[in-house]
Structure formats: structure tokens, C-alpha cells
Symmetry: C2
Subunit: 174 residues, 2 copies
């Protein structure tokens, strides 16, 4: 019996530390901050202004929305756009004004909330070929979408500073 007891001491599965709901809230918090940065940009600078020869923040915002929306569409449906079909690569986005960008931004906010209801927790750990190009776990693709947003939004902070416009506080995710 002692021997059996020892054999039954199998390792518990590693405990996890972030739930799907917490990840969604983390992302939407970042998205609320990015929305404030878009709002802070002068209308006439959003698609024209840049620093150091880089893209406009409007173009970066379209990339952020492409990654979020097309990325989650791919995860939910299994039908992926390729990178070359995305608006920020084709340059064919119909969004030309701050108002149009913010409207699409808010639609994606709702889309993500709905997408989450279609994703059972175990799905996050499955492997997909994101955009038919990048193989990895779904959780890692989503972290990449979020990090890519933080990365480009941070570059827009340099743009805002060079325009003499106050930058929204980095911790303000409300």
C-alpha cells in the first residue's frame, strides 16, 4: 500500500496565472489608451505627420486594427488573410479621417468582446498558422498583436512630443 501511495503522487498540472477574461481586459485597457492617443492627434496630422522618416501614426493605427481584427477573424474562423492582403500593406484602407478611424476602432472593441465568447480556454493553447505564415500558439499570436500595438503607440508618443502635444499617461487604461 505504501508503494501504491507513492505511485499515486503524480505531479499536479502547472497552475496558470492569466485567465481569458483577464487577457481581454488587459488588451482592451491598452486599446482604451491607444484610442486616447488617436483622439489627441490633430486631425490634419494623423495621416501626414511623422518623425525620422517613419510612417504616419494613422498608418500605424490601421496596422494595429488590421492585426486585431483580421487576426481575431482568422483565429475564430480558421480563414486567414495573408499579410499582403491587409489594408496597411495594400495601402487601400478606406479610412482617411480621425472620425472614420475611431468608428472602426470602436467596432473592433465590440468584435473582440464577441470573439472572446467564441474561444474556449483550451483553444488559446492550440497551434495555428497565423496569417498563413506564422506558426504558434494562439495565445502567443494574441500577445504579439497586443505588443505590436504598444510598440507603435509608443512611437506616436514621440510624434506627439515633437508636436508639443501632451501625451496620455502610459498607465491610463480606463
Amino acid at each position: 500500500m505504501e508503494t501504491n501511495t507513492v505511485n499515486q503522487q503524480v505531479s499536479a498540472p502547472a497552475e496558470m496565472i492569466i485567465s481569458p477574461e483577464a487577457l481581454l481586459e488587459h488588451w482592451q485597457g491598452h486599446r482604451r489608451l491607444t484610442r486616447k492617443v488617436i483622439e489627441a492627434f490633430p486631425e490634419d496630422k494623423l495621416f501626414t505627420y511623422s518623425v525620422a522618416g517613419m510612417r504616419s501614426f494613422g498608418d500605424m493605427a490601421i496596422e494595429i486594427m488590421d492585426m486585431s481584427s483580421d487576426g481575431m477573424d482568422g483565429i475564430i474562423t480558421g480563414q486567414w488573410k495573408t499579410i499582403n492582403e491587409m489594408d496597411h500593406i495594400t495601402g487601400k484602407s478606406p479610412l482617411k479621417t480621425k472620425e472614420a478611424v475611431l468608428k472602426q476602432w470602436d467596432q473592433i472593441t465590440e468584435q473582440l468582446n464577441q470573439n472572446w465568447q467564441q474561444l474556449p480556454p483550451e483553444r488559446f493553447l492550440e497551434v495555428e498558422l497565423a496569417f498563413n505564415a506564422y506558426e504558434g500558439k494562439i495565445i502567443d499570436s494574441i500577445l504579439y498583436f497586443i505588443d505590436n500595438e504598444v510598440h507603435h503607440r509608443a512611437q506616436s508618443y514621440v510624434y506627439l512630443n515633437s508636436l508639443g502635444i501632451e501625451r496620455p499617461a502610459f498607465w491610463d487604461r480606463f
Copy 2:
């Protein structure tokens, strides 16, 4: 008996999607990229060059290291520095060269690996008053440290571009 069966159908706990080990690997991946950005910076520009009147990337790198090292020290020991005691605020960091920054960077890489061995999974979900000022779950403090690193590193990409220096690829976390 039917009634009992119904009563026993309690909800399963929400499944989680990120393990401590996956979070550490995610962070260290970002830290490998940030290290490449520090290496890409010319020695004579690291603490002197900036764009739009912002801080040098050297100063930002000290902030990133403060948050990582002092932050994890606080989480492990329960003894927190206040914000005003941190090197990037006092301006009293002894690090003045790229070599010294990289040496400390690598020490923190090891520190984080060791810190993780002292953090049981349930600890990530406990609430702490980080830096005696910011109340939140430990997992959220750690995500903040990582996001803060991505944010400032992204600003250095604008600096590198304005210097005409090739930026390490954002996806390169190896």
C-alpha cells in the same frame, strides 16, 4: 437522487491560459530584443542622443532595469523601494557606458530566472502595493513592467531611425 445530481453540477473553475514559465519566456524574449537595441546604439549616443526633447535611450534603459530588478525584488521580499529611490528618478545610476549597461542587463536576466523559482503560481494572483504606491495583483505589476519596456524600447526605434541605424526586427526575440 436526480436533485442531488443537479446540485453537484458546480461550475468548473475558469481555465487559465498562461503559465508562469510561459510568462517568463515571453518577458525574456522581449529582454533579448531590448538587449539587441542597446547593442545597436552607438556608444557615444546612448546617453546623449534623443528626439523631440525626450530622454536618452540610456536613461530609459536604466528605467527598464529599475522596474525589472527593483520590481521583482519587491515582489520576492515584500520590501519595496519607493519610486523616488529608483536610479532613473534620482539620476544617480552608476551606469555610464554601454558595456556597464549590458553587464547589469545580463545580471538581471539571471535574477529574473532565479526570482521565478521563488514564486509559486498562486503568488501571481495576490495583491501587493507595488513600490508602496500601486495596488494590484502581482501578475498585473509584471505585465506593467513588460509593457513599459516595450513602450520605451519602441521610442528608441525612432531614435535609431533618425540616426540612420537599422532597427532590430520587432519579432526577433531569440
